[in-house]
Symmetry: C2
């Protein structure tokens, strides 16, 4: 899934250069790192990338190895459930009863061995029981930015670190997140899913019948080689978590121990960056005088910070953002203003 | 006097473009506004500009009207006393016993009529009594950024708003500044002086004999058409206030009511700028969300501020400064760092 708009990283991310295409943590982009990771598990010919029409061309030039026909275009973003359904259609056309894995293209994963083990176990279980399988990440702190998965600790599959899912929980408040962490039967929902096309489509049919009908219509159009933008337009945006996972039964979660982050804001980038003794990070050229816990990133300009703590400064060629660390989530408000003000060159 | 280095306005001001050459408050530079103001009082041929060697060429191109030979070069900045002495030398060479006026090239003055009245009175008194005359500005708030002049309220010249000076006071603390304002016998020291060359040189001889000797040597060199950098190098930097005004006797102050500011920091520029209802000023393109009393100036970039109060952001092509309003005076520390780090292109 590589269709995100990446407004959280404005001004570094833009409509034409969302987070998955940024080399935000290393010299490689998040998307390329995701492809590299999956390529070690599977043939690159079996990797499909779903993205927005306006991004398809630059993604084609951006990624190496993935065949052009594997870039699937969503006419517009409709959240994850329609996106995954469209991918399922394309996979089904290639080979009936395939096992499908769903991976966000803009997440940080450190620890390839643990990742491989978890995905292999999940594939095995998805194939064996025709279950919906998800990957749960062992939490390391009481995050309020992530969804959680509660599981039944008694399991016949615990030699595989696999458990039945009890419930999906949305982003909790801090108190609740602390209880989740303490109770030891909660995992982070990393947005990675493994299932057979068959099991997935059955579940879509049961829990999202409207989407199911629309996907069947789209399937027919694709078979005839006809566009489906008009049908896609009528699809209600919905996340796979809310639309399917929270409703489906008999979901299996595989507990994984790799280091994971959705890299949802500049704060998380700062957390994952080297810092000096004052907790400051400067990427690019700059100077911080009398300030602690600041994150500065600059493409080109020299940035001088004087007397400020807990501030994020992001400087690009045509725009600079200055935001307190407790407000980084609200960068979207700036993007909204630029949209309303039709400042297309800054979006 | 147009030799200032303008580090307080970094990154907008640079070594090659100090404050006096910036159009910081209107479309005209501070220097050009000063010349315009004086040109209404006197022939432009009688206006001398004293500046640093490295600035002379750009000042020559920058100002209109002032003859090239009227640009006097200080080999290096030595504060105001040597600067004014050098100017006095040049004026004496042109015409003995002239009345000389000293004007900083980077101050804000609003109210031309009041300015004219004060300068004419001062010139009259400087001529009549051979006194040192200074202009005192009626204070409008208890400034801690300005020096003060205390005067004897009983005066035979009070029909001219002219008084004998009792004392010069350095920048006071706030409590003292409030008392100064309340006592009504204190004026701001605006750094404007009017005197005959004769009276000035006599006073330099009495109170700064070392400088007097050096100036006499320099005078001989100039008459021979020989350079004097070696003598200038040995001159001790000293302000005219500390070196002469605080020591001299029988100084007259003319009380003036024009609006005046030394524009000593971005805060003062903010004070003198239009603001929105939240006290924010944006010069250039930008957006402030949930913030009050901020000053943003940008040459080129779009600047977004989110969740910050009392912050100054100055964006130029190659550098951006972010500083809290209570630390703007410390911008010099950034310049010092750039000097030490030999980042010449940013100075």
């Amino acid at each position: 899934m590589a269709g995100g708009s990446g407004t959280r990283f404005w001004p570094y991310s833009r409509k034409s250069r969302p987070k998955q295409m940024l080399n935000i943590l290393s010299e490689k982009s998040m998307l390329q790192m995701t492809i590299d990771r999956l390529q070690k598990l599977h043939n690159v010919e079996d990797i499909l990338i779903v993205t927005r029409a306006d991004l398809a061309d630059s993604i084609r030039k951006h990624v190496s190895g993935v065949p052009t026909e594997n870039i699937i275009i969503e006419p517009e973003g409709k959240n994850t459930a329609p996106c995954i359904s469209l991918a399922a259609l394309h996979i089904a056309k290639r080979k009936k009863n395939s096992i499908m894995g769903v991976f966000p293209a803009d997440h940080l994963i450190v620890g390839y061995k643990e990742f491989q083990k978890a995905i292999n176990t999940a594939s095995f279980l998805a194939n064996k029981d025709n279950s919906l399988v998800t990957i749960g990440i062992q939490p390391t702190f009481p995050s309020t930015a992530y969804g959680y998965i509660q599981y039944k600790t008694k399991s016949e599959m615990d030699h595989m670190n696999a458990y039945s899912v009890k419930a999906f929980a949305e982003k909790p408040h801090l108190g609740l997140a602390k209880r989740f962490l303490k109770s030891e039967d909660f995992l982070w929902n990393g947005g990675i899913f493994i299932w057979s096309i068959d099991a997935f489509m059955k579940n879509i049919n049961s829990h999202m019948p409207e989407l199911n009908d629309q996907i069947i219509k789209i399937s027919k159009r694709i078979n005839k080689g006809v566009g489906f933008d008009d049908i896609w337009k009528t699809i209600k945006p919905e996340s796979i978590d809310y639309g399917l996972m929270e409703k489906a039964k008999d979901i299996i979660v595989v507990k994984a121990k790799f280091e994971w982050s959705d890299l949802g804001s500049w704060n998380i980038i700062h957390d994952n960056s080297p810092k000096n003794k004052d907790g400051n990070t400067i990427r690019g050229d700059g100077l911080i005088i009398d300030g602690i816990n600041n994150f500065v990133q600059s493409d080109r300009q020299f940035i001088a910070l004087l007397g400020l703590d807990n501030v994020v400064v992001i400087s690009t060629d045509d725009a600079t953002l200055v935001v307190t660390k407790d407000r980084v989530e609200e960068v979207k408000k700036v993007v909204k203003y630029l949209q309303d003000d039709k400042k297309e060159n800054l979006l």
